[in-house]
Point group: D3
Chain length 335, copies 6
């Protein structure tokens, strides 16, 4: 399947060996973002991908492009303008100490300052079978929100599948009145979506759907009400649990009729960031290859479990490595 994503590329700067920023002057540079993570993983899964974005028109943009090519991402729809890339520092957690992400200026990046007119939206939609839009675009600037909205409309009209990822970050939306603006934007884009990644919290806290459900049954009912309201194919997400010593993960997929969930896997965490994108990549692979719902959720969850064991945001798994984990989890050495 041909999968195109519209989204921000970020510069990730990571100190080595679990150091805090005060402990080292060495940083590892990587280029990430929801679209990057997803497409790179889907490329390794054998899909054809394109990223529609803007990179800075300077040496940093050139370096970003080289690194994205290395990740297997085609850049036919990627332009160069401005001088800035949103960036973040990732101080990796260990045990009881959480990973700390510190963002630096995302609203003046080449992407954030880009406008719908800067992109070939129709051509992009024509070439692709599925379009992925990340909710971050709704939060960044008015122009990225407009572009996302237009892209969803064009794709939906053209009969292409549209996948929308809520990805609602309070930290990007804490200005007064901002939640109301965000709610409007989310409500405007949802009618054009087919697959939605989100949580029940997004429905309750952002979209004001009732009060928080108190049990699994009412949670399922609420989500299925949402699915029907927007005529979604799938509503998808993960659930993390913590038993005081160990984190666990399970995958979830809702249609208007059924609720599928995977078993719960214990997590050993090398790098916490990007696991959600790995889950999404697995789901879209199942969609692209028309797998059973059960196997789709199982595969996607396993992919997310493995993503926790890989450094960086980008889930560098393949079908082979995910399948190996599902069939022979006890093997710890391959040669």
């Amino acid at each position: 399947m041909k999968i195109g994503a519209f989204g921000e590329v970020m510069l990730r700067l990571t100190p080595p060996e679990y150091f805090l920023l005060e402990q080292t002057d060495q940083l590892r540079m990587a280029f990430t973002g929801t679209g990057v993570n997803l497409l790179s993983n889907l490329d390794r899964f054998g899909q054809t991908t394109q990223l529609m974005t803007k990179l800075p028109d300077n040496r940093l943009g050139e370096a970003a492009a080289a690194n994205l090519r290395k990740l297997g991402i085609a850049l036919n729809y990627t332009g160069f303008s401005g001088d800035h890339l949103g960036s973040y520092f990732a101080e990796l957690g260990y045990g009881a100490r959480p990973t700390q992400v510190t963002y630096q200026n995302r609203r003046n990046s080449a992407f954030s300052l880009s406008q719908a007119a800067d992109y070939s939206l129709e051509e992009f939609v024509t070439e692709m079978d599925l379009i992925h839009i990340c909710g971050i675009s709704l939060s960044l600037t008015e122009t990225t929100a407009e572009t996302a909205q237009k892209l969803a409309e064009i794709a939906h009209t053209a009969g292409k599948a549209v996948c929308f990822d809520f990805n609602f970050r309070p930290s990007l939306n804490d200005a007064p009145g901002q939640r109301e603006i965000m709610k409007e934007r989310y409500l405007a884009i949802l009618p054009y979506a087919d697959i939605v990644f989100g949580t029940v919290r997004d429905l309750v806290e952002l979209l004001d759907y009732d009060t928080k459900p108190t049990d699994k049954t009412s949670e399922t009912l609420l989500i299925q009400r949402f699915i029907k309201e927007y005529q979604l194919t799938w509503f998808v997400g993960t659930e993390r649990q913590y038993d005081g010593q160990q984190h666990h993960l399970r995958g979830k997929l809702y249609t208007a009729e059924v609720f599928i969930t995977s078993e719960s896997y214990p997590l050993q965490i090398l790098d916490r960031i990007g696991a959600g994108d790995a889950y999404a990549a697995g789901i879209l692979l199942g969609f692209a290859e028309d797998w059973s719902l059960e196997y789709t959720v199982k595969f996607a969850t396993a992919n997310a479990v493995l993503a926790h064991t890989i450094a960086g945001d980008v889930p560098l798994t393949t079908k082979k490595t995910v399948e190996h984990f599902l069939t022979a989890p006890h093997v710890d050495l391959l040669r």
Copy 2:
């Protein structure tokens, strides 16, 4: 509160990535010591601190001073003389393999060769509210023991709180007759102390208090007898347990009347060294801010748990990170 410490600065040399010394030619240089660890943590906790010590009068001393400043340590009472700094190699353990510390010559360092007359003891005491003295000073040389003793007397006389950390290391005191000398020195300084960090083993094995208590009740009685004998405010320590797979830590605080203990936390250990100093910093913060005994012990223990997850000796925690761990231990990603 203004907190001053008298103690040795050491050069720590650590191979990266859990390597043994034969496996790499790369070492990470850091500057540590009980006083350094404690004051740096207290500075991050919002206290005002000063370190009274000696650094070498050469390029190494200049580098040490720059690194101590980076750690937030004021050096108004720190002088420069000689050419040597006590140093140690830390080969970090992993799982079943313990961390191995190898000391190099601590008795000819700028600090070890320093004398009471080299320091402005009165001025230092006048400026500070609480004086911290590490038992290592009693072990290193006759002159550091004398300085520690004088400092305790002056501080006590001036009505300043004196905190004394047993920190008794058999490896520094294995010469014949040395234990007897050490016992005398410890007995001489204790009358001037208000808060003491130690273990029941210190009382039994170094100070010849009875025989080792066989149950918790008799242990508490013995420690409270010691507290009353020296009119201490607090006697404080931690207890480590191992269940065959996992290490656990709990904090303890005794007054003449009560015994407070925290819950027992499982440990995930990135760097074993400095956890005791993190506990001490938490206790002194509770003392400085006049917290309840319960919260003081809880906070100090949480601080020590987090210190195990931070590379290096120095506990780079803040009130915010400790409180976050206490209120939301399940959160493993902050953004």
Copy 3:
């Protein structure tokens, strides 16, 4: 002397071993800026310094503050706000290949968004003997320009020496009409200056002083006319020459009456950036210690020559190392 600077702190990211950005994912993080470079050097020269600036109010700002403390810079007048620090990538040149600096968003940094009201200008001026203002502040934003202007006025009125560094960068001022705005701002601040760092090109191209002088004598006359116009004590700068294989540097200092120049030194360049700030630090040291003009220029030039041989922007020289170079340039090993 007590020397205070008002200026931007930047994040410098440098690939190791002369690599280009596409060749590595490792970056060295450092915190620099004209004020940082200058004050850190002056601190090592024995002066008392303060930096007035804004750092981000997040983990990056904390890391920046720790690193500035390490450089010997006092931060009593430094505040924390916003989330961004101007940054640049430095791809170090080698031989025929020039060093390439790539800036990322400087106009939305904590510093660029700060206003005069955010600082204690009077208190700062009162505490200091000399105030250093970098022309970059005039270019960044309207508010940083206003703060710089106010600071100059207050300092001048209070009878403190004011040092102004042209530091005019066309790359920060290529918007239409921007040069005219800049000219106005420069003209407004100059009446309050005592020592000015600049070049004849600044006078001709920015301030429209005549045409470019064609020989040394008319250059000197033009500069001395400028000195008299603004009643400057000193006008100071350096001159770089290239003979096809080797770069050379000489220092220059003009008063209303005399023109002093050093001999020309061949350069061996490890890191090209920050050499101008090293020259400035040497000049201010001569000013602070009331040296002869000749020795001031000689020392400052030697300091700049050495700065080329030290990694990073910050000139980590001392009086001892500069004097050693001046008296024993043939010695290549000290022990």
Copy 4:
């Protein structure tokens, strides 16, 4: 005891910090191989060792020799020829993600192209008390198989103990007809062996011993039948178990009469490779020092457990560190 091994030296290339090959351009170079791992460990255990092998006759061979000397391996019987060393990339696993070994051309290495006539077999046997032969030599090339066979015969005839390690790797033997050739070669060398390292799977799948045993008793019977058939002293191996979250290891040793097994130890795995060689080294030490069977198996298993916590193939343990683990497993800091 004087222990000599005949075997391949390999170049191991390992990315740092659990990175995959696409994630870094940094590799750690090490020199390993069954013989290298075993002898280096035995040298640290106080035995005298020699490695009989071939290294390339170029700078790589010189570097290999220097590194082997560092590991304590004597090279009196090691020659230099050709230009190649078999190599492998080790992408270290983490949690659910297994370690991935990727071999590069082992059959054209200096060792693989060597012939019996290139070595001083008789002299080697005369000097040694025990000869170790790795089954890899039977798989690599016809000439290494011949040399291994001759060496076993000469050693057996000379009354020296012969230790043979099955080490059968399907990945080196997947050509059609290759398993039959391998079976012949293994059957030819076994009559000359005294101690054999292997698994019941080797007997069943390679040597066609019955069908796979279904319980421990029939497994023991099958192995003891094999022992008697070849008049072996010991048949030795380990057993790995996985409970869904944790890997465990136990050691096993069979004689014609008894079956000894250690307790099962949980594993914390820093580097999975080389643990089997650590077990073998422990067994050979027990043999060399004539320990009880029980302590031999216990020590060897503990050695293998510790080997999992040490980076690289080579088990850098000593008697002291193994004994410390056996007597004080709760101690996680030594100073």
Copy 5:
């Protein structure tokens, strides 16, 4: 222009900081080869490129492909087979100490074992405008020589430009009789070439053209005789000189009628390897863009001079950086 190359990809392993192999266990991994270097540079010069080669069908091949994509190389004609990549160690020289290259097994690589039938030669030729063939292919194996020969014939017949690089390495051809075989192969391919990279030494020592010319005039005559004999468009090369302290480089281009040479540039050498490929890339760019012969040689030589100042084999220059060097060689800082 569309430029396709047929050639070997190699794994280059480089110790950092000018270390020798015995001095470090750290290596930098890169993927190089004449085709890689040339095409990557031409891609940065704005040309469209394709590499026809074979990579190993394992994790190393995957990593190689990712890195080649990063270098801007399209891999539509690149296949995966076997398990091996030819590799070399590069110990970088410094001053009087030459760079030492140590090759490891190039004749059993995926490329060396590939056959003409493994490639889509016709399709490749049809898509491209110019085909580059490296003489190394004639030296490696019979099958790579055959493929090179066929490719040259097909391209020539199809009217595409054929560029052939002598690249004759005695070290790959020291077997007895091998020079005769090589001479035959070179003679067979030359009739199909249009542009040839080589030296007069190649003509004399490999092709037995007369004796070595003693002056520039006779050298030019000999080369022009060769050009006419094979109806070449251009014969191209460089000339290195050493004056006892400094290396110099000049470029040369011969047609049947004229001899063009650039000025001689002094070299500052960071990485000696790949400079010849940079010269070739510059020449092909001039050919593709139909520049004057003079500017083509000047640009190509400047490109080679800059390639000496860039780490690694691959010349990461652009038109902009080369032109900047030609117009403003005195500028050592760009911002």
Copy 6:
């Protein structure tokens, strides 16, 4: 020839990439010393060597021993005691900035505290053909001076060649009265020496030979008077010159009758330390292989020139690399 050295092993700690100690927390660990440098080089030149010294009896000593084995140094006469190794920090210079060595406590090392009775002096002398003694031993402690003296006497009496290296360091001898003690010790050992490394300054300033000679002829006469007085075979040294931009080196060798000097070589300096030991190693090789005086000096000087281009103290040259430099200095790439 069998060459044995008695001398100190030091721990060298070097920041990477020309950083100062304040600029990095990374250090490269190496083990050096005059004896180490000399013997390691001589081992690579094909001689048989032994080092008589003491290493600490802890993990540092074990690491030192492993690294010395890697350098090709046999340790049959090396013991383990104490806990300390003399160490130094080497901040590498660049261009105008000299290399700065900072020593840490050399007088309490295992070596410095060792006594003659700790070594098997007679056995050592019996096994060796030539004994090398470094003057540093005379400076460190009374006991190392005694051991050196005894060793010289025993070796001389046994008819073995004795090589003594002045290596007089004012920095180790600045205590009052110390120069007089040193003079006595040097005068006591010289009668047992055959080859002496030194300078005319040693004779004048330490041994009070006349006044400093004003021309080459009187310098030669003074040195030859010294040679005759002590019946030396050779007096050997180097001469460094600096022309304002470039350092140069020439070698010198005096017998009672002749004075041999090499040509003067320009130096390109990667690592300044250890060049003198490289010269000494070359001289001893010429002695061992009975070369002509001219070639001995030429080879030794070339060896010292190359040592400047190799990182670290230890001259990792071979006969092949030195001869290559002498015969083909223009070749900068070997493959």
